[in-house]
Structure formats: C-alpha cells, structure tokens
Symmetry: C2
Subunit: 346 residues, 2 copies
Amino acid sequence: MVTIRMIAQKAGVSRGTVDRVLNNRAGVNAETFQKVKEIAEELGYEPNLAGQMLASRKKKIKVGYIVCDTTVDLFFKSVYSSAIKKAEELEQFGVTVQFYLIRELEDHSIGKVLETVDLDELDGIAMVPLKLPSVMEFIKKADEKQIPMVFFNLDAESKQKLSYVGCDYYESGRVAAGLIGLVSPENGKVAIASIFDEESPSFHDRYIGFLNELDKNYPKLEIVNRNTQIIFQKNDYSSIQKVIQENRDIDSIYVVNPGNYEICEKIAELDTGKKIRIITNDIVKEQKRLMDEGIIVATIGQQPEKQGTLPLQILYDYIGLGIVPQAYYYTELTIYIKQNISLAPV
Amino acid sequence: MVTIRMIAQKAGVSRGTVDRVLNNRAGVNAETFQKVKEIAEELGYEPNLAGQMLASRKKKIKVGYIVCDTTVDLFFKSVYSSAIKKAEELEQFGVTVQFYLIRELEDHSIGKVLETVDLDELDGIAMVPLKLPSVMEFIKKADEKQIPMVFFNLDAESKQKLSYVGCDYYESGRVAAGLIGLVSPENGKVAIASIFDEESPSFHDRYIGFLNELDKNYPKLEIVNRNTQIIFQKNDYSSIQKVIQENRDIDSIYVVNPGNYEICEKIAELDTGKKIRIITNDIVKEQKRLMDEGIIVATIGQQPEKQGTLPLQILYDYIGLGIVPQAYYYTELTIYIKQNISLAPV
DNA sequence: TTGTACGCGTTATCAA
DNA sequence: TTGATAACGCGTACAA
C-alpha cells in the first residue's frame, strides 16, 4: 500500500507538501507540484479509508435530511427509519444529521418547516425535492450558499446537486408492462389506475414507460382506459368502478400509484369473476397481506432502505473524504411476488 | 461518542487496562475488570470503526478464498470477479487474499489444488464446500487448526463455521413455483427439468420447495413429469424431448439447474406451439439474450456479487475487528424478467 | 513555499 | 497487574 509518507520520501519533500499537492491546495512550487503528482501517479496512491475517516471527525460535519412525512405516504416510513439508522452509524465519524419532515398541506404549501432550517449551519443536504414553490425556493437558497445537495426519490435540477438516488421511473413503468405481459393472456385486456397526482413526475414517467413498452412488445394487449379515467381521487373509487363495470373482461390492472392501497381491495371487490391480476409499486408492511391474499400478484420495489442510507453516505464521503459521487444512483427494480415479499427489507 | 480514553479517565486507569478489559485479555485485576466493564456498559461504549480499521493493519491478516472454477459453472464468474475486487479493497486494511480455483474432475476428485493450501499461513477461509471427500477432508483439517471459515453458495457443517452466505434454495424453489403459477393458466400443465446433479443439495432443496409450494397454493396445476425424467445429461436432451413430445400442451417449465442454458434453447426448439414459458435460476451475461428473445420469461437470481464480497468482509470483520457475524446471510431471491435483467449486477 | 507536530481511536509492546 | 508510549495514515494548524 502506498502512503503519503512513502511519496514524500521518494520525492524528497515533507508529508505536508505531498498533502497539499494531493488535495490541490495552493502554496506549492509548480515544479515540486508536478514532481509529487507524478510520483503519486506512478506509485498508484490511494488514500487509506481508515486514516481519512479518523481524521475527518474533526470536521464536525452537519447535514440535513429532509424527507416526506410518513403520514402521507407510507412508503417513506422505511426510508426514514433507514436514514435514522445510518445517521447513528455516521455519528462515530463526527457527523450529525438534522431531520426535517415535510408534508404538503391542504393549501399546497408545506407550512413553516423549511424556515427552521439554518442553512449556515449545514454542510450538506439530502432531500426529496417536492415540486412545490417553497421547496424550490429553498433549493435556490441552498444553491446560493453553495451547499452540496443529494436528491432522493424525486429528481430536480440545481447547481449544487451532487447525485440523485432513487427510482428510474420510466424503467419502472417498463418492468410493470413486462409483468402485465407475463400475467395476461396474449390478447388480454389491461387497465391502468393511479391516485390523484397527474402532475407528479413519478407517475408521468412510469405511465409513459408502461405505454411504450406495452405498445412495443405486447401489441396485442388492449388498454381499456388509455387516456381516460386513469386517475382516482382519494376515497373516491367511482372512476375505476366505472372502468371495471364497463369492461367485464379485464385481465390485469396496473395501479401506478396505489396511495394507501385501498384501491387494490376495492378492485378485488368489484372483480366479480375474481380474475383481475393487479400489478403495483412498492409495498409496506401493513399491506403485505394483500399479496398473501392474492389481491396484488406482483409489485415493483424501489429499495427504500437505499434511499434512506445512500444520500447520507454520499454526503459524508464527499464532504468528509472528498470522494466525488456518481450523478445517478438508480435503485434496483425489484420484483416481489407472494413468495419473496416476506424477505423484502421494509 | 464514547472512547476508550473517556472510560479510562472515569475509571481512573490507563487506556491499556481498558483495552485489556474490553477485549477480554488476561492480566487484569478482577476488581478493576468489573469496574471498567461496568463503566463501559454504562457509557454505552462502541468501538470506533475508523480507529479499529487503522490499528488492525498490523495484524497482516491472510485469508483464502476457495471458489469453483468458472469454466464449469458460468455462475461463478461474477462471484469470482466480485471477490477479486473486494480483495483489492481490503488490501488497505492489511488483508491479503489467496485465491484457489477448484473443479470437479472426471474421476470426481478435485485434483491437487487444495494440497497447495498452507493452513498454517491462513487466518481464515472462505469457500464453496463442495460435497466431495477431499473437500470434506480439507474442512476437517481446517477445523482442527481452528481456522474460522465462511461457506458460500453451498452450506456445510463444521465447528469453525462462522457463517453461510448464499441462497436459501428451498425458498428459491418456492419463488419459482410462484412464478410458474403467475405465468400459467389455472389448470395448466407444468414440467420440471434440471441438469444432472440429483445429489446436489441446491437441486434437492429447490425441488422440494417447488413441489411443496405448488401443491399448497396451486393445486390445479399438473406436473407432467413429477418424479420422472426430470434430469437430463449434459448435451443429451432426449429425456426432456420425450416429455415435451408426450405432453403437447405444456404451459411452463421450471429449469432448476440450467447448466449452460442450452437446455432452454432446446426447449424453445421443441416447443412447436411457441407457448411454453421457461422459469429458471440465475443468468449470466452471455445468456441475457435468452430473456430478450423471450425464451426464458423469468429467472431467479442469487446475488453473485454478494457471495463474492460478503464472505471476505465477514472474515475481516471477525478476525480484524472482532465483530461476530450472523450464522446465515441469505441472498435475496431477485426476480428478473426481460425488462429489468439489463440492470442486474453480473 | 515548505516543514513540523499534533490529534483522531485503537492496538501492541515494553517498562514498571 | 498496570501504565506509558509508539504506531497506523491522514488532515491541518502553526512555525520556519
């Protein structure tokens, strides 16, 4: 293993100088800079993780983790709890994590939570960039203060964005199409449903991916409600009821965003022939029984635990150790059926 | 964070003494031992990972990694390459990994590879415990020398076994049954096939799991070749040919152990109606096209990269940092279909 | 512009 | 039975 010491010795300079060169800090003679750089390259220097970690404690890194309140979207429960675990783990490296729970209120604002965030105190931010004015404004402010940000679950644009950690929703829609193709007869009839969130990018991308894949590889499948009556309101399932009653021979339904999964039970109720197969996304502990009972035949996961932990790890690696992350960390599109859902990390 | 220093101060002893207590080393007065132990408990001491890692380099840990030669089983390619990567990563912590490739020869021995392993040189071993006399004998020897072992891909018994990292084959078989149920009509006909390895536990457990799950949850499905003609020899597909020709209306086939996947293409050829849906296990890079072409409709993965990396990590954690591992680390039973196979880590 | 020295937390060795 | 001290590799504050 190559250490800074060894480079210093070979170059005939001190450890301090080598350190300056390696971290591109100012104050080094151009000639020595070159020389040291070359030797480091030649020897194949790689900083020792343990050393870096130990030294990085002094930085007292503070990061904020802004996530959706789990009362709205059950999915975020496991994201949140994974993040808390990770935060505890990072404590030993001198990292403190401030948690903020945000939630879209009736008036489409998110209240005053973000106003309590002291940007001058934070070295980095991990957040779900909800598409709301106050959130966008917050990102702008963080941008101006040059605070590195990692977005998760939802992507957004920003100068200071380090990475996006989350689902590739377009591909997720394609996988859903593949599952629909798998569980439907060749000339089957398919329906789509989703809770009210037409403007959400996750819905949109999944929807497009689903349609594209279905049209391309399963052209004989008929979508009975393409472009119509796809969206249902919370607690109002009249639109999906209409679709099912008007199409008695539906084989499968892709429930894009299931909300609290009530829609799935509703469909099972309405399905007098008991043959409709439901494909959906994610699953939370309380809803696993829907798979057990065969109401949902397959669901596509998006690694909530990864969305909880990786953003914090990325921020620590970047701020603490100077490791530059990838721009995208897509979660795996894991398929769960009755037999492997119990093994899923929730 | 609680450090050894803080404990030492509070107990009125030196760091060295605290270290002795925490690591249960001899040479400490029973009274001080108790006292220090209590204070550590009270303060909730957790060793700092960075500090441990840095210090553990002095141990110059040497471990052996014994894996199947990839020429026999393509699956082990990615296991092996993941292990090599991990070994490089562990280098910085003073760990060196010796690799040994074993392969069952014509005479059912594995040649002299294991004889070249110097057990006195190794602090730990990660291996696939093939069910062969010479391998069992090797494990016995390692056992006598008290060398901690981690088994992967295949489990075995041994006093010095730390963990098993690999597939839960019984559950794997159950998931296969679930997939068969998903892609077959309710009263469909199902066949089973597997390359010659009836005595292998992985085949046996998957087979039992498959039958149990099918009988329990899909009683209307008929297995056309239950207990007969399941096994085919390498390059001799006459038995499966016979099954398909005698049962013109087979809906799906579970290929338990696909060997080099040639069997799948053979089935597709024999399937004049082009409707048989194949479910199998794993997939290797070169065979992804079988999914693209729709010959295999779904496959169940077993995280080869985890089987490559985790055993080494476990050994380092245990030997270097004193972290006691779990007894079982089952790999996830990931389902791949055409649309998400390209995202699979291979 | 460069070198020195200390601290991070743990482990190991040597001296008392 | 204990304490003191050096070492691991890195980062940085301070001195030269």
